[in-house]
Amino acid sequence: MNVQSPPEALKPNDYASDQEVRWCPGCGDYAIVKAVQRSLANMGADPKNTVFVSGIGCAARFPYYMATYGFHTIHGRAPAVASGVKLANPDLDVWVIGGDGDMLSIGGNHTLHVLRRNIDVQVLLFNNEIYGLTKGQYSPTSKVGTRSPSTPAGSVDSPVSACVYALGCNARFVARSVDTNQKVLPGLLQEAKENKGASFVEILQNCIVYNDGVYSSFTDKANAADGQILCEHGKPLLFGKENEKGLRMTAGKMELEVVTIGENGVTEDDILIHDETNRPLALMLAGMQPPNFPVAMGVIFRDPGPSYDEAVYDQIAEVNEKSPAIPINELMHKGKTWTVV
C-alpha cells in the first residue's frame, strides 16, 4: 500500500471523530488530543494510514476521538497489538497510547520490548501518577507517601521514572512534555513521528479529579521557567526566566549541578551542551527531580538505529532472493518421499 498525501490539506479538526469526548471536564487529555490533531495536520498525515492503538484506562479512550483507524485493546497490551499492526503493514503510521498504569504497571513488559526492538511506532505515555478510571488508586509513578483509596496512610513503594525506564529499555528516542504545552508538544510529536524506530514520549498529564496539581510545582506559570528545562541538541542546557541558570557537570563527579551564570565565576561557557546521542547524559537529565533540579523536557535522547520492522522485511526479501518460494506442493515433496503404485 502506498502512502499518498490527501488531496487537500486537512485541518486539526478533520482528525477529530464524531464521537463525544467523555473525559472529565478540565482533564489534561483534552490538551493532548488537540496537540496530536494539530501535529497530524502539520505533518499532513493521511487518516487512512494512521492507526491509534491503546490499552485500558482514561488515556486509552483516545482512539475513539480520532477520525483515523483505531484499536482500543486490553489493559497493558497496546504495544503488543501495535507491534502486530506495524509488522503486518509497515506502511501504516502507528501510535500507541496508554497511561502510567497501562504502560508501566500491567503492561510494563510490553513497553520494554516494543522499545528495545525499536519497532517504528510512537509510544505516547500519559503520566498522571494515578489510576483515574478505577477511581484514584496510586500508580507505579506516584511519589512515596501518595494517599489514595488503596494507600490511605500513604504509599510506601518507590516510583519508576518513565523516561529513565525507557532509556533503560534501550529506547532510541525519548522525549517529555507537559500536556498543556502547545508550544512544545505538537513539535515533539512530529519529531517522534519522523524518528524511524520506536519513539517514546512521556506526557505529564494533570488528572483534575484524583491528582490535581501533582505537577504544579513546575508547571504553573509562575514556576515553569525555573522548574523546567527544555533540552535542545547542541544548545546549552539553560533555564530560568532570563535563561540565567544552567546545568553543568560537577567537577570530579559523575553528577549534574544547577549553577547560575554570573555567580561564583560561572560563565555560559561552563554550561553543559545538550548531546541527545549521549545515553548516560540522557539518563541523568531524565532522572532530574524537583525541587533541586528542573524537570527535563524536549528530546532528551535520540540516536536512531535500524527499526525491527524494516529488518524483518529486509530478511524476508533476502531469503526470497536466495531461495524464492516454490509451490506448496513442491515444498511438501522436498525431502525423503516414496511412491506407492
Binding site: 492507526v51 509488522l87 520490548h113 525423503k336
Partner: protein, 629 residues
C-alpha cells in the same frame, strides 16, 4: 516358562522369505536409554528408513522434560516406540515386541511393557554396579533371573562402538556418543532396513564436522556387521516386514507439526493472506515456531514475542491490519492468552490459536500428552465468549484441520481454537502427500465500499462482519473491547443492545454447524448398543478397539468428533440411537460433560490421565465390560 513357547512372535507361523528372513506382519520396537543417549534420534532415523521401506507406521516419542537429566536415573530415561506393519495401523502399538535398553534405568522403566517372550537387547557396557544401583535395582537384573522369560541379547555396545571408531580422530566421549548409531545398525540388520538414508543424514548433519560423521557412520556399519557375523543365539532371527498395501501415491513421513505448518500455509494461500505468527516458546508447541520461521519466502512473518500475551496480541493486531494472525502454545500459555481471545471474539477478527495440549494443570507434565484443554477451549474466557473449536485426530489430519481453521476464521470473522496434542506434534506417520489444488480457494474480500459502511456490518447468512483494514480510504473506524452498537459499531452501554450482540456472536458461531459435514460413524452401525465417542488423537486406538469388538460380532460403533464447537447438527440425534455412549478421553471427562449437557444423553466417561496414549487392549476390555453392564 521356556522362552520359545510364549510370546506373540514365537507363536506366529514362521514364514520366511527367500533370504531366510522370518516374515512378520507387524512389530513394535521401543528404544530406551538415557536422555543423552540419542534415543529420539535413533527412533527418528529408524522411522525414516521404515517409511522409505513402504511400511505403514506410527511412532510415540516419550521423553522427560529435562534436557539432560542426571545420567543413569529412571526419570532421565527417554524412549521412542515405533509400530510398523505390512497393513494399515492406527497406533504406535500397545506393548513392544522388542525393547532396546541402553542402561539399567531404561530396563527398569520399560521392562514391564515388553510382551512376554519379547526380544530384549541390553547394552552390557552400561550395566555396572553404579548404574544398576542408580536405577533402583538391589541385584543385577541380568543375573537374578528377572529376564528369564525374554529372548535376551546382551551386547557390550559401548565397547564395540569404541572399537568401531578406532583410528578416527574423535575423543572417547564423542566415540561413546555413537553407540546409538551402533544400535541402530544392529536393528537395521535385524529388520532389513536400509542404512543409506541415515548415512546421508549424518553427512548432512555433520557436514562441518566430518570426523563426527565418520565415527557415527562407522558405528552404524559396525552394528550392522555385528548382526551379520556374530554368533547370535538361535532364537534371535532376522525379520522382514513386507510393504503395506496402501493407496497409490507419493508418501513421506511427517509429524503433526509439519502438517500443521503446511496446512496453515495452504490455508493462508487459499484465503489470499500472509501469515503473521506470534508465538512464545513452550513445550511442546515450539517446533511450529521453528518450522514457520523457515518459510519467510512465503511472506510468513514470525514474531517471537516477549510472552504469551504479546504473542496473541501481536497476532490479533496483525489480523486487524489484514494479515492472517496465528498464535500457538500449550495449555498454560493459552490460559495467558484468554483475555486477548475475548478481545478477538468481541472485535470479531480472524485468528488461529493452535494449542498443542500437554498434561496439566499448571505446568503439569510438559512433555507428556493429554487432551485436557477442551473445557478451556470451549468455555475458558470471561463473559459469553463463543469460539469455534476443532481437534485433529492424526498427524495427517492436522493438515486438513489447519486449513479448515483458516477457512472458518476468515469466513466467520472469529478466532478459532485448533486443538492439537503433544502426541500428534511429535509422533510420525506416513502421509500421502495431498495436492493443494484439491482445496477449494476461499479468498478473503476486504471491505472497500464506503457507502453505508460501519465496522459491524454483517453478512446476512453467516453473520460474519465485514473486514475493513487500515489503509483503506474512507473506512477509518475504531474497534475495541467495549461493547459496540449493532447498527453503528460505536461504543454502546445499552442493555438491549448488549443482549442482542451477545446473541449475535453466539449465533454466528453456531451457524458454522451448517457449514461443516454431518456427523457420521467411523465404523459400525448408525444406531445400536454402544457408541464409543472420541476426539483428538485417541482416534486410532478407539477405532482399532471397536474394530476388534465388531469382529467378534459385538454391536459397537465408533464416532469421532472433529468439530468440538459447534457440534455437528445431527450429532444429538445420532447419539440418541445408541443404548450406551462411552467417551474415552485422556482427561478426567470433558467431552462427556459437553455431550451430556448439550443432548441430555447418558454418556459415560472412560478417563485415562496418565500422560500416555490409550492402549488398544485396555479400550477393548473396557468396551466389553461396559457392554455387559
Amino acid at each position: 516358562m521356556p522362552t520359545n513357547l510364549i510370546g506373540t512372535m514365537a507363536t506366529q507361523l514362521k514364514e520366511t522369505d527367500e533370504s531366510g528372513r522370518e516374515i512378520l506382519d507387524s512389530v513394535v520396537i521401543r528404544f530406551a536409554g538415557d536422555s543423552g543417549d540419542g534415543m529420539q534420534l535413533t527412533g527418528t532415523q529408524f522411522t525414516q528408513s521404515t517409511a522409505l521401506m513402504g511400511n505403514d507406521l506410527s511412532t510415540f516419542p516419550d521423553f522427560p522434560a529435562e534436557i539432560r537429566a542426571p545420567v543413569g536415573t529412571t526419570y532421565g530415561v527417554s524412549a521412542f516406540q515405533i509400530n510398523f506393519a505390512s497393513h494399515a495401523i492406527k497406533t504406535p502399538g500397545d506393548a513392544p515386541d522388542v525393547l532396546v535398553a541402553m542402561n539399567p534405568a531404561a530396563l527398569k522403566v520399560h521392562l514391564k511393557d515388553l510382551v512376554p517372550g519379547g526380544t530384549l537387547i541390553i547394552n552390557l557396557g552400561a550395566f555396572n554396579d553404579h548404574n544398576i544401583e542408580k536405577a533402583g535395582y538391589t541385584a543385577n537384573p541380568l543375573e537374578d533371573g528377572t529376564l528369564d522369560s525374554y529372548r535376551l541379547l546382551e551386547i557390550d555396545i559401548s565397547k564395540l562402538t569404541l572399537a568401531a571408531v578406532e583410528g578416527i580422530d574423535v575423543t572417547q566421549k564423542e566415540a561413546l556418543r555413537a553407540k546409538n548409531l551402533w544400535t541402530l545398525g544392529l536393528m537395521c540388520w535385524m529388520y532389513d532396513r536400509d542404512r543409506q538414508p541415515t548415512i546421508d543424514w549424518l553427512n548432512q548433519r555433520f557436514g562441518k564436522l566430518p570426523h563426527i560423521a565418520e565415527a557415527n557412520i562407522a558405528a552404524l556399519n559396525a552394528g550392522h556387521a555385528f548382526g551379520e557375523t556374530a554368533e547370535l543365539p538361535s532364537e534371535v532371527s532376522t525379520y522382514v516386514v513386507p510393504k503395506a498395501k496402501v493407496e497409490p501415491g507419493i508418501y513421506r513421513a511427517v509429524t503433526g507439526v509439519e502438517t500443521t505448518c503446511w496446512g496453515l500455509l495452504t490455508g493462508a494461500q487459499k484465503a489470499g493472506l500472509n501469515i503473521f505468527f506470534g508465538s512464545y516458546p513452550i513445550t511442546p508447541a515450539s517446533p511450529l515456531l521453528h518450522s514457520l520461521s523457515n518459510l519467510k519466502q512465503y511472506g510468513v512473518v514470525t514474531f517471537q514475542a516477549e510472552d504469551e500475551i504479546s504473542a496473541v496480541c501481536s497476532a490479533l493486531g496483525a489480523s486487524y491490519a489484514g494479515s492472517l494472525g496465528v498464535t500457538s502454545s500449550s495449555g498454560p500459555g493459552v490460559a495467558l492468552k484468554s483475555e486477548a481471545l475475548g478481545l478477538a471474539v468481541v472485535t470479531e477478527l480472524p485468528l488461529i490459536v493452535v494449542n498443542f495440549q500437554r498434561a496439566g494443570p499448571s505446568t503439569g507434565m510438559p512433555t507428556k500428552t493429554e487432551q485436557s484443554d477442551l473445557y478451556q477451549s470451549v468455555f475458558g474466557r470471561n463473559g459469553d465468549t463463543p469460539m469455534p473449536v476443532i481437534a485433529a485426530s492424526t498427524a495427517s489430519d492436522c493438515y486438513d484441520c489447519a486449513i479448515e481453521a483458516v477457512r472458518l476464521a476468515t469466513k466467520y470473522m472469529t478466532p478459532v481454537m485448533f486443538l492439537n496434542e503433544g502426541f500428534l506434534a511429535n509422533a510420525a506417520e506416513p502421509w500421502k502427500l495431498p495436492d493443494t489444488d484439491d482445496v477449494e480457494p476461499f479468498p478473503v474480500e476486504f471491505a472497500s465500499e464506503t457507502e453505508g459502511f460501519h465496522p459491524y456490518l454483517r453478512d446476512e447468512k453467516t453473520l460474519g462482519r465485514n473486514w475493513a483494514i487500515p489503509g483503506t480510504e474512507g473506512l477509518e473506524h475504531r474497534i475495541g473491547g467495549i461493547e459496540k452498537d449493532y447498527d453503528s459499531g460505536n461504543i454502546s452501554y445499552d442493555s438491549d443492545n448488549h443482549h442482542k450482540m451477545t446473541k449475535v456472536r453466539d449465533q454466528k458461531v453456531l451457524n458454522i454447524a451448517d457449514d461443516i459435514p454431518e456427523q457420521d460413524v467411523v465404523s459400525g452401525n448408525k444406531s445400536g448398543k454402544m457408541a464409543v465417542v472420541g476426539w483428538g488423537s485417541t482416534y486410532g486406538a478407539i477405532e482399532q478397539a471397536t474394530l476388534r469388538c465388531q469382529e467378534d460380532g459385538l454391536d459397537v460403533s465408533h464416532i469421532h468428533i472433529r468439530y468440538i464447537w459447534p457440534l455437528a447438527r445431527n450429532l444429538g440425534e445420532l447419539l440418541k440411537g445408541f443404548d450406551k455412549i462411552l467417551v474415552p478421553e485422556m482427561n478426567n471427562g470433558q467431552l462427556v460433560t459437553l455431550l451430556r449437557s448439550e443432548y441430555l444423553v447418558p454418556a459415560e466417561s472412560l478417563a485415562q490421565i496418565t500422560g500416555q496414549p490409550f492402549k488398544v487392549a485396555d479400550l477393548e476390555r473396557e468396551i466389553r465390560t461396559r457392554l455387559e453392564d
